[in-house]
Amino acid sequence: MKKTFQGFSEEEVEHIAWLARIELSEEEKKLFTLQLSTILDYFHIIDEANTEGVQPTLQVLNLVNVSREDVVEKSLKSDVALANAPMKDKGYFKAPRVL
């Protein structure tokens, strides 16, 4: 039997926000915990649907392996690709330190 949804805890919301790389303020953590719990509780209506043996619909057109010829085409020049970057150096995007 599926466990019924009891709502999110603030720790859970903090963890998911970390997975999504979104920082949350303390007030927002509290507010989102309440709101997201209410919303997800409503979504549980889909538990009632009988989906035994039903294939998931990933896309509605039944397209398979749409590809083009492996031929070089026009692409963005380096300076154009870098034009919106907040930090750049010598033709590279400049990133914050990883470690």
Binding site: F32, A49, T51, V60, L61, A95
Partner: protein
Amino acid sequence: MPQLYQLSAREVSERIRGQELSAEEYVASVFQRIRKIENDFHAFVSLSEASALERAKDIDKKIKNGATLGRLAGVAVAIKDNICTKGLRTTCSSKMLENFLPPYNATVIEKLLNEDAIIVGKTNMDEFAMGSSTESSHFGPSRNPLDTSRVPGGSSGGSAVAVATEEAALALGSDTGGSIRCPASFCSVVGLKPTYGLVSRYGLIAYANSLEQIGPLARNVYDCALLLSIISGHDTKDETSTGIPLEDYSKGRVEYMNHLKIGVPKEFFGEGVDESVAKGVWNSVHNLEELGASCEELSLPTLKYALATYYLIAMSEASSNLARYDGLRYGHSEKSTTEDWNKLFSRNRMVGFGPEVRRRIILGTYALSAGYYDRYYLKALQVRTLIKEEFEKAFREFDVLVGPTMPVLPFRIGEKIDDPLALYMCDILTVPANLVGCPAISIPCGFVQGLPVGMQIIAPFFKEDLLFGIGHAFETRFKH
């Protein structure tokens, strides 16, 4: 005697090509109109007056030199701000992309430019297309032209407002869960969500890519059909676009209203739908019978799962599609030199995204996460199949399905913004068409308490001709 900015797209294009109207004069009139009323309605995020006038002058010159011009020659078009326009700021009404200059045009933009259309500006929207009221815009809400204390609908609110207030003859919007049809209904204009795959999404900044389509908004059905004819078609740059033969939708007419079987799902008029809206649209259903169609009620029980199914899928896809916004290659960056990768990116996303966007990303992340994927995302995809099959069954018996576009009348700005779930409930009638992928149109069908009501017509895949045909017949006889 109508002002130039009031002309329909058809009239502008025909007169300019026929040398009865100068494009420069027309565009000047449009911007005069914008300057006069824009502060009252806030349809636009960015305007491109200088380049529009230059293009207009070019068009006038080309005509004088005997060149043949495109089907939208000189027509003023407003573009939703999630569609990339080269060199013209494209923000998705978000702080995250406040200063983003796309290095390329969306395919639909190239198609418009090839037909000599004139882009007048980028329209306001719910941030990253997440919303049904245009209230989550970082730049403030747009206002309903029929009552400025009320929302214009969303997320393509600005586009609907621009067309309704005659700031543009045509507009492009995008529809993921109703975002073209909702504001079309609330602003009393015509708006269409095309069949999934009919219009290229290359250059549409993605929110939920298995659900969304770019589509046309206009003041009448013919103009809407004309715009669709121009933007649709296979695109090698969008692998989900189809290769079906193109139609000139503006040429079609439904001469066979009395052979049409129209299905009226009782769930479209049931729980959650305002009684006065339901009554108003039922009158329009009777109008369709007067035109010769036969209307019959049916039941689509899986519709009760549609909203939850839509949001689980949309939020999951959004969490993936918006993962790219970290402030590294583009987008908002706090520009710290001491923070590490994770801290800086998490801060950029906290500051750059508004609360609704962050809520959806977080829920979507959860629905896709290990241990929960089967229960939420996969389950939703299976329920999507059930809904799709139920519609396919209905379309074996009926040519089209009809009901209200929105379950409520346009509500006041601020009324629902603190209750996310209440706002989501506005989408109950529009999300099914996105889940199934079939085309749907909203046609103005009257007023209740002075506020506009829209009738939604849903057709099988690639049967937009039916939507335009019925819409045109209805509009001609029962003009609202």
